[in-house]
């Protein structure tokens, strides 16, 4: 069966510090991968998606970036965090585009 992992679960970082959130998927190959951000009590905002190694599409211009160094690894990064980067970050994967997405447990980020 397939599983998706995210870490860390919770992160408190000062403004201006770097960020690296990791997501890995097990039990499938060549998945589509997604990073979402969810503000408190809100819906999901798609940040990045990837259909293959090294292929990243950005949905929202901001100080975040994403990379896919391996088939089942997706990393969300920032060189300098802003207060507005606080939120709940969710990674997801799907077998094909536009079909069911399977979500990780999420990372709660608080930037102080």
């Amino acid at each position: 069966s397939q599983t998706i992992h995210q870490w860390p679960a919770t992160l408190v970082q000062p403004v201006g510090s770097p960020l690296s959130l990791e997501c890995t998927v097990e039990g499938t190959s060549n998945p589509n991968l997604y990073w979402y951000r969810q503000a408190a009590g809100r819906g999901l905002q798609l940040l990045f998606y990837s259909v293959g190694i090294g292929q990243i599409s950005s949905e929202v211009p901001q100080n975040l970036s994403a990379s896919r160094p391996q088939d089942r690894q997706f990393i969300l990064s920032s060189k300098k965090l802003l207060l507005s980067d606080s939120g709940f970050y969710l990674c997801a994967w799907s077998r094909t585009s536009g079909e069911t997405q399977y979500f990780g447990p999420g990372t709660r980020l608080l930037v102080l």
């Binding site: 819906g43 798609l46 599409s57």
Partner: protein, 110 residues
């Protein structure tokens, strides 16, 4: 931008009652999906209905889709305390992406 919008924003019902929530969208879709999110957790996929389908069932869940009205409904029958969660509709259109609404928060009272 969000294509799907859920209604109502919040719903409080007694255990054993049915819960109905609606989703409206703006453009043609390939499919529409419903997800559940328990507080502080990731989303869990509930059901996917394709644009050529009108109704789908999964256990106590019933989903309808009316493409002429660009709307969908999710019915949870005989609700339980464990159904307390936020429910999101997501529309699939174009390539690769799902567009999520802001969700309906359901509280089931014992």
């Amino acid at each position: 931008s969000q294509q799907g919008e859920e209604d109502p924003q919040a719903l409080s019902i007694q255990e054993g009652e049915n819960a109905t929530m609606n989703c409206s969208y703006k453009t043609s879709i390939n499919n529409l999906q419903w997800y559940r999110q328990n507080s502080g957790r990731g989303l869990v996929h509930l059901i996917l209905i394709r644009s050529n389908e009108r109704e789908k069932h999964s256990g106590r869940l019933r989903v309808t889709l009316d493409t002429s009205k660009k709307s969908s409904s999710l019915l949870i029958t005989a609700s339980r305390a464990a159904d307390t969660a936020s429910y999101f509709c997501a529309t699939a259109f174009g390539d690769y992406k799902l567009s999520f609404g802001a969700g309906t928060t359901v509280t089931v009272r014992a």
